[in-house]
Point group: C2
Chain length 464, copies 2
């Protein structure tokens, strides 16, 4: 009597677009901007191209003169572009992309940019226009819509022109937005982004034509993140089965070092003995039961080296400090870069800055959160960093006055950020991440505490 049906992933995210941050015109305008800008930044950084990102929001329909209304959102970058074979699906298909690998990047789900286009389509009925060139010779211009029920692009127009030596990508989408309500968040997004990418030129032109320019303050770019191998502690049975299926190694003793992160030949042999498996076995000959045993032994074996964070690209003290000084101009600040750690086999690095005083900071604690250099501006109270600040640290112990003007700036770099939502709003309280944040905050609080007591005693000296 009940009727069953299947829906495509684009249909699922269309029906449940609030999961992805496209709740209402104000929030959706913000999400459209952030998803496209993050795609551009990722693209430039992977190729180590100093990013030039230009975003413009323009009212689209002159007959509409108050929010919410349609806006043309245009994001242009000087990145590596998208190769012609992939353009339509990169933008017109959900769960499709180039970031399904173990490498630090802002993108990870394969749906952000496509969601912005989908939202534009269902609110304005306008197709998206993509222009892109990978070589500065040929520029491809596609006008496309998404077949939401089938999760595939519908190409309405396609042409090839002379790219006139310009490489990069332009995305133009028309969305129902509410700039009045989201302007503060959008401006904050650009301001906070610029803080952590001082090697980029970021320009934002708002609907009134006002230009916000964040010029680069350094030429040197951080080394791009490297793709890495999975770590034994993060493996489950499904993953192991896939690795075995794809492996070309003829023995377990060759398979382990080749396919796993930081597993040397000696460690492999030692581990296989621990797991009770013959090192000369062909991985493809393992039975299901043996695979289960292999995985559970991997989790129990204590002699694997911890994940190496060499694949990661943290901000580094220099860039981080420069951003703090530029944006917050504090009287005092201290930066700590924690040693690499890992959760579930994924390496991560916590960087934390604690800033005090100066004319810009207001009384009380203001938290700035970044994950892989993305500013997180929503759902602060649900984030692990907020939890640490408010529940795990006893500020009185460090003699910090209650209304002191404080800013805590956190950046987490990882091959996988444990967001709790598809809209990448806040980070789950994984115990290892919580611990690193706590340690980082304590380190910086000790330094601030020392500074404040020095300052107090110097003031006493002066008065005598």
């Amino acid at each position: 009597k009940e009727t069953f049906s299947e829906i495509s992933p684009s249909d699922f995210f269309y029906r449940n677009r609030d999961l992805a941050g496209f709740t209402n015109p104000s929030r959706a305008l913000y999400s459209t901007v952030r998803e496209l800008v993050e795609n551009s930044l990722d693209a430039c950084e992977i190729e180590r191209i100093p990013p030039e990102i230009y975003t413009r929001i323009t009212p689209f329909d002159p007959s509409e003169n108050e929010d919410p209304r349609k806006y043309l959102v245009r994001v242009q970058d000087n990145g590596p572009g998208v190769a012609p074979d992939y353009i339509a699906e990169a933008f017109g298909k959900v769960l499709y992309g180039s970031k399904y690998k173990l490498r630090q990047s802002r993108g990870m789900f394969g749906l952000g940019g496509t969601m912005a286009i989908l939202y534009g389509q269902i609110t304005s009925n306008k197709p998206v226009k993509i222009q892109t060139s990978t070589d500065g010779i040929k520029k491809y211009s596609l006008t496309l819509m998404i077949d939401i029920e089938k999760n595939k692009p519908i190409i309405l127009d396609k042409k090839v022109d002379d790219a006139r030596k310009i490489k990069g990508t332009v995305v133009e989408v028309v969305v129902e937005g509410d700039y009045l309500r989201s302007s503060q968040k959008i401006q904050e997004y650009f301001k906070q982004t610029a803080l952590v990418v001082p090697y980029a030129n970021i320009t934002f032109v708002d609907p009134m034509g006002r230009i916000y320019n964040y010029l680069m303050t350094t030429q040197e770019m951080p080394p791009p993140p490297k793709e890495t191998l999975p770590h034994p502690y993060g493996i489950d049975v499904e993953f192991m089965r896939r690795m075995i299926r794809q492996s070309k190694e003829l023995t377990l003793s060759k398979f382990m070092p080749k396919r796993f992160h930081r597993v040397g030949a000696k460690t492999a042999i030692k581990f296989l003995q621990f797991a009770g498996l013959d090192p000369n076995r062909d991985p493809k000959s393992l039975t299901d039961e043996e695979i289960v045993n292999l995985v559970s032994s991997m989790h129990k074996f204590e002699e694997f080296l911890p994940p190496d964070a060499n694949c990661l690209s943290p901000l580094g003290e220099k860039i981080f400090s420069a951003g703090i000084i530029k944006e917050l101009a504090p009287e005092f600040f201290t930066v700590v870069v924690r040693p690499p750690s890992a959760y579930s086999g994924f390496p991560f690095i916590v960087e934390l800055a604690l800033a005090y005083g100066g004319r810009q900071l207001d009384k009380g604690i203001k938290l700035y959160r970044y994950a892989n250099r993305i500013p997180l501006l929503y759902d602060e109270a649900s984030d692990v960093a907020w939890k640490v600040i408010n529940e795990e640290i006893d500020w009185k112990r460090y003699k910090i006055p209650l209304e002191a003007p404080i800013a805590v700036v956190v950046n987490i770099s990882s091959t996988r950020i444990p967001y709790k939502t598809v809209g990448k709003e806040y980070i789950a309280d994984r115990p290892e991440i919580e611990r690193e944040l706590k340690n980082a905050l304590r380190e910086t609080l000790r330094k601030l505490s020392a500074y404040l007591s020095r300052r107090t005693s110097e003031e006493h000296e002066k008065r005598k």
Copy 2:
């Protein structure tokens, strides 16, 4: 240089299973139980079968004697069963189900039960066993696994037996769980579920063999929710296009009343005039531009009747009060059932109980949240109800003492609950829902305030 790939929706939720509430063994054991129990309750209620739901968690591998370890989770119901053609895909395919319609139910995404099975498979490598009978004559037993990369079931075994007059469904899955850490939440889940389904027999047997029995206290079941038509205020261009494609009506004047909620023939004509469209037009003849105009006119036309909540199935004061008395035994309580409201065209009803005193309530405000009768036990601080209690209500104004023993119990019924996460942890702060919660809490606070002042003056009288 960048390589592109597509992943299936099951692969997406496998890689991102924390989005769906399968973060770690403790949380995943909870999610496994809740997803299966909610499927059983939905199935029984839709057919108005007084639910008999039996859940047992048993340690699976005797060689494992401490958490986390494998558990066999078995959930059995006396529901309508699943028809043989659909069994494999209902359980072995993500984004597949019978709840993709505009009708109140606990399930809505088409992936909960399948995620429990997927999680079991990747942590225990054991297939799931499903037994089901729709007629009490034939019982189908399927042993299946999920092909996660292709999002389809792999049937390992299938047989048909005599069902011996027993209808219903049994699901048996083996998962890596941590009962030590999740026992409190799991027990709380059953306790709070039983509070709102007094017409059900709920039994839970824990790993130690302890039996928790929640016996039915009433035979009468609420009328099952009815499927309803979409409301004009909730329509977007994509949805309209689909409706037009599926419509059989030959004119707009017939299409509107037939396909939309509470749009009568007269209102349809009036609206079409407002939208500047000929009522005799064939809906399929509308151009894209006209469809956009139709949708935007729908949002602007102010004479549509608001969504009718007749399709909804709220608890009702009787059932709600019985549950409050049974579970909280308060000194005083008051229940308010708000009039029907709507957000984005989706009808909803807020029911709120405010309880005070008695031996069971602790000092301070304890919040119990339900959505379509599902107890929500996680992420309280992110929920709209919490926001209303803590930020939108001035408790001092009602002269409620600071440490008063208070419980606030909220149930929201809707054809679509605006969860912010796939794991159905908490509800988004939609303005209409926030407003209804605020009004409900104010109503009950006035009554509690009156009660407390009466009680205080009576005590003064006694002392004289």
